[in-house]
Every structure is written in C-alpha cells, then in structure tokens.
Assembly symmetry: C2
C-alpha cells in the first residue's frame, strides 16, 4: 500500500479537482451555505441522494432480507434516563480546551497530537529528512488539521519522548492531556498562547421534550439503544427463537467539537446498524459460518499494531477464528458479510482492511471490536465497526427498569438439583424471636449444605438445635423443630434464563459513500488535449441513475422516442434521466460520466428512420447500435448484473460516429 | 358518510380490538416503554417498518421518478437564523396554559374547546337529546380528549354563544383565549381550577450546535427549508430549466404540548415533501394538466365550510380549475397526483376528501391550501397538505442573505424600454449643494416622466431650471445643466428575473400509514364460532411481506424445499418469511392475515413426493396447488400487479384440505 491515494486506474488522486467536480455535480454541498454554512453539516444533492438510497437499498437486501433480520425504526429523540443508563451521559465525551486569547475551542487530544507532530516534522526538516513518510495506522483524522512546521532540531531524547506520547495519544484522560500541554508548553499556533486545561464535553445534542423544562432528552448517538429497549418484544415477534438479529437505518448525531474533513466527520449522519443476539454459552457459533469460512480477509490484528507495525495479515476467516485472531464465529461471520457488502458496492478491495481495536480504544460497552477501514485521500477511514458488546446494554437496561430483557430457554433435558433447603415457619418464627427474628433468619439461610445436614439431623433426633449468632442474646440461639423445616429436596429445572450477548456491525453510510466515490473515480485524457475529464465508475446497481437518454438535438421528431424509452425503462424499474439541453453530445456524455451514469442512449436521425438507437458504455465510451427492444434488454441485463458490457458488445453491432465532439468542452 | 368508522368490509370498527392486534403484531409500539414511555414518540416494529419502507418506495416512484424530481437530503439540525427568517421562530407556536394546582400543562385552544363541548353535551343530555351527532368537519383532534359531561341545562342564548365560539376556535389568539377562559369561568376538570393565562409556546425542539453556547439551533419542523436554501444550486443542476421540482423524504419534529392520539399526533415524524417551482407569470399552468383533467375528486371547498356544511362536491379537476374552485392548474395537477398515489396505496376512496383551508387556518407562508383527509376512527385526518406558498420563502431568504434565489430567463424577444432618465453629475453635484445634496437628488429622482420631459426641455433651451423642494433654502432650487443630465433613452432588456412561486404537496407518512391500516382492516368470522379474526388486506405492492412460507411440520424433509423457494423469491426481489413454528397451520395463517401478508405457500408431504406446493390467498383463504415454477410465476405476477388472485385461481387447480384447523386458535 502506498502512502498516497490513487484513482481507480492508479492515477494520483487530485483531491481539489475531485472536490470541484463533486460540488459542480451537486453530490453534496455544505448545509446552509447561503447563511455562511454550519461546520459538520452537509446536504446531499440529487446524485448523492440517489447514491445514498441505492447503498441503503443494497444494505437492506444484503442484511435484512438475506439474513431475515427484524428491521425497526426507533425515534431519534431519547430521554436522558435511557442514555444515563447506557453510559452515554457519562462517557460519550471528548476533552476540549479553550484558547483564552481568541476563544478558539480545541479538541484536546487533536491539539496535543498536532503540535507535537509539527515539532517532529520541524525536526526532520532541520535534519534534512523527508517529511512525508508512510501513512501511519490511524492518521485519517489528523490529515485535515496539519500544522505549519518550523525547521527546529530537537534532542534525540525529545524526539523519542514525543514519539512515545503520540503512540498512546488515545490513552490519555483530560488531566493527563492538560499535563502534557504544560510540560511541553504546547501553544495554539493561531495565537501563540497555551490553551486552558481540558474539560469534558459531552458529544450528544441536548434538548427538552415537551413544554415543561424537566424532561431533558438527547438526539441519539447511535440507533442501537432503541433496538435494545425493544428486545423483549422483538424476541416475542420472533416467536422466542434464538439467535436472531434486529436492524435499523436512521440518523444519529454527534456534536463534534470542531469538525473538519467533509463527509468524514459530521454532526448528523445516517447509520445502518445490526444487533445480532446470541447465546453466550454457545461459544458464539454461527449456523452459516461454514458457508463463508474459506473467504480471505486482510486483517490488522491488535498485536501487530502494538508492535508498531501496520502490515496486513491475509487469512481465511476460518483460520482467523481457529487461531483466535478473531474471537468467535459470529464476529467472523459478520466481518465476511461486511466484506461481501463492500465488494458489491464496488469499493476497491486493495484499499480495504479490517483493523482490530486496541483495548484502550474501544467504546465503553465493547469487549472486542474490528473496523472495516477504507483507504482514501484522508488516509484509512473507519467505515464499519463490528463490535462485540457482550451483555452490557441489555443488562444495564434490565437492571434499571426491571424489564425482562432476557431469553427463557426450555431445556431439552431438565436439570435436577438436589439440595438441603431451609424453610422458616413465618407464623411462629416472628412472635418467637421478636426483634431478633431477622438476624436469626439470615443466619439460618446463610448456612452451608454441610451445616444444614447436621442441623437437620439434630432437629430430627432431638427436636431442637443450637445456633451461634453473634449479637443475639448471649450469642447462642435455641431453635426448635416447630420453627423451621430443614429438608433434602429434589428440584426439576425446566427452563434456563440468560441475557444474550450482542454482536453489532455498525455502518457509517456517509463515510462509505464518500470513500466509494474516491474508489470509483478516475480521469480520462480528453482527445482534444483539454484537461482530463472525471469519471465515476460506480457499478450499475449502485449508480445514482442507470441510463442517460440523449436526443441529438431539440428536434421535435425525437420526442416520441424519448418518451417511449423512458416509459419502458420506468416500467422495468430502471431509473433514467433525459438530457435535452443544447450542449453538444460530447459535453452531455462528459456530464454523464461525472455523474457516474453507466449507460447512455442516443436518439438521432437514423432512429427516426429505422427505430434503432445507440447504447454507450461509460467506462469504455464504446457504443453499439440496435433496435429499441434489443437495447432495452441489454440495459436490463447490465443493470440487474446478469451481463457485463463486454457481453453486450459481443452481441450487438458496434457503432462509431457521434463521439467526435467529445474532446470539445 | 356516516359518523362511525367502519372496516374495509363495512363492519363497525372496534378500535381497542384493532389496537390490541397492532400491538401484538408489533406494527408500532410506544417508544421507551420499559422506561415508562414518552408521549408522542413511537417506534415501528418489523411489519410497521416494512410498511413504511414500501410506502416511501411507492412515493419515490410515483413522484420523484415519474415526475423527474430532484431529490435532496438535507440536515435536520437547522441554525436559528434560518428559521428566524422563515418565520418559524416567531410564528410556529401554540398557546398553552398551566393549572396552578397540579401543574398540568394544557393547550389553550384544545382546553377551551373541550370544556365548552362538554358543557354543550351536558346540556343535550339534560334536554334528553342524543349526544353523539354527526362528526363535525375538523373533529379529529378532539376525539382523544373528550371530557366527562354533566347533565346541566344551559340557556338557549348560551348554547348559541358557545356554538359560535367553537366555530371559530382556530381564530383566537392567546389573549382572546385567556378572555374566554375568564368570561366562561373554564376550569380544568382534573382540579376544578381555572388555568393561568395562555402564553406562547414555540413548537420547535431547540438545541445548541457545537461546543460554544452561542450557536442555537432547532430540529427542523419541515423538510422544505433545506430545499429552498439549495434553490440556486438545484436550478443550476437542472440546467436552468423551469418549471421543476425538488423533493425530500426525512424526519421532522414538532414539540407538541400534550400529544395524545397515537400515530396521528407525534413529536417526531417522517415527511415526504415536494417543492414545485413555477413561474407566477405563467398563470401556474402545468404541462401535464391535460392528461389528468378528467379525473374526479371529492372536494370540500372553503365556501361550503363557511356555510357550516360538510357536503362534498364531486367534480373533475378540469372543472374545478376552470371554475376557480381550485386556484390553478399546478395545484390541481398535484391534487390529482396525490389522489392517484393514495389510490395506489390502497386507501378506501369513499373515506378520502380534499378540504380547502379557510383563510385564518393556513400556515403563515401559504396563500392557498388543500388537505387530503382520510376518514378514520378519529374522524377526518389531514394526511397530505398541498399548499401554494407563493414566493414567500425564496423571497425572505434572498432578502436576508442576498443569495440569488431567482430565475434569470432569457427573453425570446428583448423588451425595449424607452424613458426619460435622470443622471446626476456626482462630482459637481455634491460640492454645489453641500448638505442639501441628498434632498435635491431625491427630489430629482422622484420626478415623473412628464416632469422630466419638461425639465429636459428647459435645460436644453435655457441651460438651467428651477425645482420646488420644500425645506431646501427658500423652497426653490436652481439647477444648471452641468449638474444633471436628463435624456430620453432606449434600453434593451434581454433577460427577465423573477422569484418562482412554490406549490408544495407535503405528506405525513405516519398518518397515511395509520389511516391505511384502518382502511385495510376487517374481521373474518372464525369457523369454530371463536372470536372474529383480524385481516389487513394491503395491496401486494404495499404489504410488509409478500409471501409466508409454511412447512406442515418441523420434519427435516421440508427444509430443502423451504430454502429453494426462499431463494427463488429473493432473487425476484420478493420478500418472504418462513414460519416453521410449532403452531397449527391455521394459527400460522391467522398470524399471517393479521400481518397483512397477501400470499401463503405451504409445503407438505405431497411436496416431498411430487414437488407441488400450495398457494393461499389471504383475502379469500382459497388455495391452488401446482408445481413450484408455476406457483412462483403466479406469486410474481400478483406482486407486480399484472394479475389478481382471480386470474391465478382460474389458471391453476384448486386445493382444499389444510385449512381444517383454521378455527382453532
């Protein structure tokens, strides 16, 4: 893996050129831009919106339908109490500090990181070393915040110390970050002033539900909680059968301290989450694991990262689970399902890896976690998290509310439990011992099996017994057989109760969408020696629009053909757009390529004569010509994935001619 | 229209029975129920979630794809400034009052309405009249808040006065509502105490965007504003062509004071909105109006309501527009498109009407508005609003930000404007008139064309002229020809600039979903004399799941058949569920009918022998038997709408037998 992002065709990726194209084609745009914009909020324009809908559609088919998941749609507004119990009110926070001079608000860990890295780069420069090295493992978030460097040489010992601090930057709490700021005299480059000590800032958006001020609530930080709260109903809906999964697609919110980085760090985002409930006693096996165990993944396990390396380990998921690289089958199964989903979307597999979280890096609820990361011009981006949340959430909500967020399983073979049991004769016991009753009862119930056996024997033989209980009378209490029964009993247990564990694949749709754009992007040299033209080679299933319909000109003779083809395609559920603007055919195809539309149909004067139309392939710019039915059939087979362009090209006569003006912009 | 809600088959609708069924089948459920619930927030369970997704899918096809709309996805979080400009910060509010004794918060208009109605009902009771009359026009919202009545006879004059107050209840402001409370001594039935004077309560959820406290924001109350703010970009994306429409599907929020009424009054809801931009000068004609002008709608125009009636007027939309019942073609076109959409969904057309808003009832931005209302057990429910927002929103945002939210149209024929123009010679003018300069300039520019002609003549002939300007010198000002040029000029205007008007169809998806459930619901007498069993007869396209697959028993021989059929259906994009629980076939079909699944496939021992399977129709409970391919083909044709059950029944051999145990629950 090289350090620089490349296009689909291996060209160096020119980010500003891509950004300009995405903006021009309105894939997305800063929200409220005419009001000056609001950081971390973006709107999707028509192609971005369609791309998002297609990703969601594929996700629903791949996960909800294929795996028979129970999809739910829960509210974003969430009362405080729920998120207090889940731990988010206390722990879903970042450390922030303030520049006392200009009021800048800084995220403390990013600030420390940025200043130290700038110093290290300054040192390298002073030593005459190359500053841009290999991309480190988790550099994505830093990319956008790069500081200006000054060429100042540091002592070797200082260089090493800074390196050590950076390696464990995710490990420091607020106080420790504050100490680092003082110790190394870290200053805000904008003002030259040291910021204030870090304070905790909760990342949830707070509001008030209803007209009274005593019902605080938050915008949910994840869709998961709504699913957990409905667990008992979902289990009942699933007729009590385990394992099963719920799923949800919806907006979540995170009030980032200082978001920069486009779609990669936003305050409002679409998530798709699966909560797969599994019996922990089953070893978290998965019934369909055998189907996928031979699929190979590129893994970056925890121990490799701890040794300071980023080398990927390629192995089958079967081996990974057998060797305990991946903890269990269910986790492994979902890593492969995530992989297959990303593959279907069209992400570049050479830019995909699965990175295991380090212990200190995991969310407060996770016991193990792997991220699917995609490589982009901002480095490796976490796009899907796959966490084992154990029984954490169901347990805390059950404890707080008393709701039965558990599974009751009928045992195939009942468990027979034999034991000495103590039964108090309440009616006589209380009046007899009066104020000491509770203490005597507690002492009796606290006895061991051996003690009970001895007590029972004495009661049977002598009718009474003596128990030593400190603090009651003289410490010795006489107990007669009318006050208590101690018997050896046999109990048959038919059901087992347990709290399921949860494996959670969690998808950040916006991050996937942006990374997919970079992975699908390349530039084509223009014939006329003009600047290169952008192409987005989305797979047909994912492309925002499938077919562009272009009449050669505004001539009225073309209208009925346009209408007929549009209607045929619509009936087949294939989205198309007509471009009857006055731009040249070439310009219109060029616009089309930038929008990622895989196929183009042209209607020209020959169409009017013999009803034939041409079909153009976005990626090769090659064309075929045939009658309408043949072309529509070809479109359908490409869109539903049964054929590729090369098949169509082999079947239908080639057409050359129109694209003479492609080079003209 | 009778006053009582009925099922699809005309049976009286038993709301508690329906509610219990919807709860049992987890169509939706109160959110955070295990924490005691939060009023106005609901979660959708698997069938509700799938139903919602299918409604959205149909909406997208019917509006976005068929009409080539530009779909966008904008953020819910919205800065204060935007909603201040749009008028929501000042006007999106209800009046509330507080009970000083128990702290109850009451929505003032509902409170006045409820207490007066209770008194009127008490009067009727005392007079021995029937209390439950015809449903009034806008009674939906009251249904859930009915007060206990006391049989107290009122004076005839008082009865009339109360009636008059109720008729214009939506007309009162807070002060007036307060006066009514005092005048009639209205008391909270819960405490017997008069509530405090009404205060305005803004219905938007407020929050703070980013870590500093000086960026207040709201959760959007509608998706429209995001679309308006992007108007200039959308117009450019549409290559400058008018008219066009943007569309958006997403959550909006309304912090209801005291929501009761299930899915019909919620604080978080899914909306689908279209903003159709039209040139006001075009008379708001619509190019496709001719296609739909003969479609008939049931209308309840403003003037009928003002006369105190609720009789529907059935007429073609062509006549309605010609007779100015509906203001313009574009509004009329969308009323029909809304009608066709609701028809496709399966709403009962005898329970659908279009009601025009009265002047005082419209939102602050609307100039005309029609609601598509559906009749349910809660009365007539506004499910779709279709408003003419004129140029209101684009104008206010343009004025506030200076952004060009306008259309520049190249004129086919340039307009030539000839007129007398005044041009001040700034360099000399200022120094000459000194402090009076501004006043003189204003007076000059305020002259009429005739005055200018006269002034120009004098200047040309004599080199100077005299102007009467009160307050400058002695009221007469000498102007020489070196200070000003007055000429007759010819201007050629090639482009026209205008702010488009907006027609907005706005859909409340949750309300549509709930009403559709009531319209699709009926009960079937059970063979065994048991209680009636519920059925939800959704059209196949809308049904949450299309096919239920039932193996006769848990016998292993059935497994491969289940798998094969599931896979075939999945490949065709047809959603199915397997029910291999141990319940009887009859019980499983019954569950299926409650979930609204249109088709059932049964696998039995004959399947193992000859590979035939049975197909059951939810609505008739009839079955056919044929080989797998024939059944799958039949399923496909029913789901895609090319065939109905009666066609399948005519083609394939009938099967009778399994459903013997249907009556057993």
């Amino acid at each position: 893996m090289t350090s620089k992002a490349t296009t689909l065709k291996g060209q160096p990726l020119d980010r500003p050129v891509l950004d300009a194209m995405l903006r021009r084609r309105m894939f997305f745009t800063p929200a409220f831009e005419i009001y000056g914009g609001t950081a971390g909020l973006f709107d999707y324009g028509p192609p971005g919106c369609a791309l998002q809908a297609n990703i969601i559609d594929l996700w629903r088919k791949h996960f909800v339908l294929e795996e028979d998941m129970l999809e739910v749609d829960c509210t974003v507004l969430t009362p405080l109490e729920v998120l207090k119990t889940s731990g988010h009110v206390d722990k879903f926070a970042d450390w922030m500090c303030k520049d006392p001079k200009n009021g800048d608000i800084l995220r403390a860990d990013h600030f420390v990181e940025d200043v130290l890295e700038a110093r290290l780069n300054g040192d390298k420069e002073a030593r005459g070393q190359k500053v841009d090295g290999e991309e480190p493992a988790a550099d994505a978030k830093k990319k956008k915040r790069k500081q200006k460097t000054e060429a100042v040489k540091l002592d070797d010992a200082v260089v090493q110390e800074y390196g050590e601090v950076l390696a464990k930057i995710d490990n420091y709490n607020g106080e420790e970050l504050g100490e680092l700021i003082k110790k190394y005299d870290l200053r805000n480059p904008a003002t030259g002033v040291q910021p204030s000590p870090p304070v905790s800032f909760n990342l949830m958006f707070q509001t008030s539900i209803g007209p009274s001020s005593n019902s605080p609530g938050y915008l949910r930080p994840e869709t998961a909680q709504g699913q957990f709260l409905n667990f008992a109903k979902l289990l009942e809906f699933n007729q009590g059968q385990m394992p099963f999964a719920s799923a949800s697609i919806g907006k979540s919110y995170r009030n980032e301290i200082s978001p920069r980085g486009g779609l990669l760090r936003v305050r409002e985002f679409l998530m798709a989450e699966v909560e797969h409930y599994v019996d922990p006693k089953s070893g978290k096996q998965h019934p369909k694991f055998a189907d996928i165990e031979n699929i190979e993944l590129d893994l970056l396990p925890r121990d490799v990262q701890l040794s300071g390396k980023t080398d990927l380990v390629r192995m089958t998921i079967g081996d990974a689970v057998r060797n305990k690289v991946v903890d269990n089958e269910t986790l492994g199964y979902f890593l492969v399902r995530i992989f297959l989903f990303l593959q279907k979307l069209g992400v570049d597999q050479s830019k995909l890896r699965f990175r295991q979280h380090m212990a200190n890096e995991m969310a407060h609820y996770a016991t193990d976690c792997w991220d699917a990361e995609l490589f982009t011009s901002s480095g490796w981006i976490e796009c899907v998290g796959c966490a084992d949340r154990s029984a954490y959430d169901l347990s805390v909500h059950k404890e707080k509310t008393g709701a039965p967020l558990i599974v009751r399983e009928r045992l195939d073979e009942p468990i027979i439990e034999e034991r000495w049991e103590v039964e108090i004769e309440k009616k006589k016991f209380g009046p007899h011992f009066k104020k000491d009753g509770k203490a005597v009862e507690t002492a009796l119930l606290a006895t061991t099996q051996d003690q009970r056996e001895a007590l029972a024997k004495q009661l049977t033989e002598t009718g009474n017994t003596e128990l030593e209980i400190a603090g009651v009378g003289d410490g010795k209490v006489q107990i007669t057989k009318d006050l208590v029964t101690i018997e050896f009993r046999k109990n048959v247990i038919n059901t087992r109760e347990y709290t399921p564990n949860v494996i959670e694949p969690s998808f950040g749709i916006g991050r996937i969408l942006y990374s997919l754009i970079e992975h699908s992007y390349w530039t084509r040299a223009s014939d006329g020696g003009d600047e290169a033209r952008g192409v987005l080679s989305f797979p047909p299933e994912v492309a925002p629009t499938k077919v562009l319909i272009i009449p050669l000109s505004a001539n009225k003779a073309f209208k009925p053909f346009i209408q007929k083809i549009s209607q045929k395609l619509r009936k087949l559920g294939i989205s198309s757009r007509v471009d009857d603007s006055s731009a040249t055919i070439g310009k219109r195809y060029s616009r089309n390529d930038e929008l990622g539309t895989p196929l183009g149909i042209t209607i020209d004067f020959q169409t009017v004569q013999d009803s034939t139309i041409t079909l153009r392939d976005r990626d090769s710019t090659k064309q075929v010509r045939a009658d309408e039915d043949q072309i529509v059939a070809a479109v359908q087979s490409i869109v539903d994935g049964t054929k590729q362009w090369k098949d169509v090209e082999a079947e239908l006569p080639a057409f050359e001619g129109q694209e003479v003006d492609v080079a003209v912009r």
